[in-house]
Symmetry: C2
Subunit: 417 residues, 2 copies
């Protein structure tokens, strides 16, 4: 027998399964399960007919580049479109500062590799996106969590952490934030807090990594486009690396996302990406570019806003019917997620097992906390399931919650009360 | 001004531009340039009509998974097809041992990260594929080159290297090889040499990483399928990680490749890939699977064999006309590449500048040697250019060669003579 462990790198021995992907596998294997776990967009809302037309004309055109290797930085017309797209979000940039990535996950991975050595500190929100946490952990960075309040990152906590780290002789490389409809909390960071973060980065000589997959998906009447203005839009001195994606607006299957970064870092990212996958799929990039050029994106995004706002409302009403007064949540103002805080003595991980038996799943919130807290929290994605299944799923969850609440509590939980 | 260098990881500061990608950029920016540089498949040989039909029916079908995130390991039907595909190459495996990757470049990257710590030794052929070299270097591995002769890896040299490393207390993690129509030399490793490598791995308790993008593209009458039998096919004890790809047989744009690995390592690769890009593009995987299921791959590969054999013949004839007796090469028996050894005093990198001015490019061979040798070698890809342009390109190269030969030689080169 070969001892494969003996061949692994230190990082290799430590890599952890993604709890989101794990739940995705559970759902895929059993279509009867109602899944609030991965943040999947609604398949019924994809622009199927537009893509069929686009694919047909691209392949009839027989233009070699459609099926060939492409430039590592991305399909040139798409890069140019992205300059104008981020322009509508207030970001003034050029193609020198943009790189197409194979999903934003690749953007996070490449940033991690480019910036973080083992033991380096990266700051993340409490809670933060699990995929970013894993990417940063895989390069053996030391992740330090910053508290959030209802307006976003807690600046006092951030400053005291930065001071403490400085006393220990450690400078964090960056703070990672998801200001728009955060994954996992759905929270919208206030504009004042965004400005304060930029000021902090300047004062502390720090970088910000701003992840913005959901900004376009604000809910009418609940948030305005102005409130989703990226931090990057006001980044005069080049402190922000900005990530965004077509996965939530067009389709995740295309794996087309992008990074806007200061020119010097953008060219480093391009070099690093050469060894990751040579280039993001050309056919996908052509599909996405054509969808942008032909106005599919512009026509489609308002439809999606209404679609997700409706589903969010359905989920909230079902939660009020089943869990009013027992669980707490902030009404989302956009995005895919509803973040639920159960009573502190309920372990969301243990309750998930009950839910699974009843045919409903979510992601237990602890996965999003780098400090091991959050055992009583739950991330619910309202994006993928149909309205009927959302109601049914929350009913099942409600039953599991009642059962779990009736159980004698584990010693640790009792102690917490 | 922000000093971005101060934020970079050690790996980040050391990442190097790919010489192949660099030349690809040069060619893309100037369509008049005849490019023998990147190993691009021939766009006129893509199965355009089949893909159009497949895309149309996939998108008309509106089956959610086509445009959704997919499982990290890969689209299930494609994984099952891959079991049978590698079965035709003599490899007995199951879906537990296969992972779809975003191009083989991602397979190389993930293997590097999983197996190599900074300072670890990986063995590679002299010369070896530049993309693998970069992936291994990006995790700061120490690359040691093993000589090749006309039959493949030189086993005596391999053994003496392994002994020397053992005396230094260093165990290489693996040997990376491209036995079929190697990139860059085009060479086909003998079956005896393959068996000897497996025996070496067993005796030395080592792993082999076998990269096989070109195996299906043998030339009729020059090589037989039996001669392309992967080392993995005889890997009874689980020492071989095998990579292959659809980039050279269907299209590179799809970025669909795969790894076959011992189960324990396959699941590690899956976990690592979660943080790299979550999953390989679903639309691409569906396109590729349908092309396999509908027989496009089977019908197409014989056409490609003839296509590339023809182009190879055109290039060889042109080389004989222009450089007979001055340059040397082994007639390729398959694949995309013709490996040319110029007289030792000619620097292929310097000659490339002359070629560029005359409108033809290649990859200077030094990029493929981890020991800094190979300055007088050239990798020519005959795969992408049309027959006419191949002749014209070799003529231009011949002129550049004559000019370069007439130059007074640089001191170093004179010294070598």
């Amino acid at each position: 027998m070969i001892n494969y462990e003996s061949y692994l790198s230190v990082s290799g021995t430590r890599m952890q399964q993604s709890p989101i992907r794990q739940m995705g596998t559970v759902a895929a294997q059993n279509p009867d399960i109602i899944s609030f776990a991965p943040g999947y967009p609604a398949p019924e809302a994809f622009a199927w007919d537009d893509y069929r037309e686009i694919a047909t004309s691209l392949l009839a055109g027989r233009q070699g580049g459609v099926l060939q290797y492409g430039p590592t930085r991305g399909h040139k017309p798409l890069l140019e479109f992205l300059v104008s797209l981020v322009g509508t979000r207030g970001i003034r940039t050029s193609t020198d500062d943009i790189i197409v990535t194979t999903g934003s996950q690749q953007g996070l991975d490449v940033i991690a590799r480019l910036l973080l050595d083992p033991g380096d500190v990266a700051l993340v929100e409490l809670p933060s996106y699990a995929g970013a946490i894993t990417a940063f952990r895989n390069v053996r960075a030391d992740l330090v969590g910053v508290r959030q309040d209802r307006a976003g990152v807690d600046l006092d906590h951030l400053d005291s952490l930065t001071d403490r780290l400085a006393r220990e002789g450690r400078r964090p490389k960056f703070l990672y934030v998801v200001p728009n409809f955060q994954n996992p909390t759905g929270q919208l960071m206030s504009l004042a807090r965004r400005a304060a973060l930029l000021e902090w980065a300047e004062r502390r000589d720090m970088l910000l990594v701003e992840d913005d997959p959901y900004g376009a998906l604000y809910f009418e009447g609940a948030a305005t486009p102005a409130e989703t203005r990226p931090i990057k839009a006001d980044d005069a001195s080049g402190r922000v690396l900005y990530l965004s994606s077509f996965s939530k607006t067009l389709a995740p299957a295309f794996r087309v996302a992008w990074v806007v970064a200061p020119t010097a870092l953008a060219s480093r990212i391009e070099t690093a990406k050469q060894a990751l996958d040579l280039c993001t799929g050309s056919f996908d990039q052509h599909m996405v570019y054509e969808a942008c050029r032909r106005g599919v994106l512009d026509r489609h995004v308002p439809v999606l806003r209404a679609h997700y706002q409706h589903k969010c409302g359905v989920m909230e009403r079902a939660l009020r019917d089943r869990l009013q007064g027992q669980a707490h949540w902030m009404p989302p103002r956009g995005g895919f997620f509803l973040w639920v805080e159960l009573p502190e003595h309920i372990d969301a991980g243990r309750m998930l097992e009950r839910c699974l038996r009843r045919g409903v799943i979510y992601v237990a919130g602890r996965a999003f906390f780098v400090d091991g807290s959050g055992a009583h929290t739950v991330r619910l994605a309202f994006s993928a399931a149909s309205a009927d299944r959302i109601v049914e799923g929350i009913n099942r969850m409600g039953e599991a919650f009642s059962e779990e609440s009736a159980q004698p509590q584990a010693p640790v939980a009792v102690h917490q009360e």
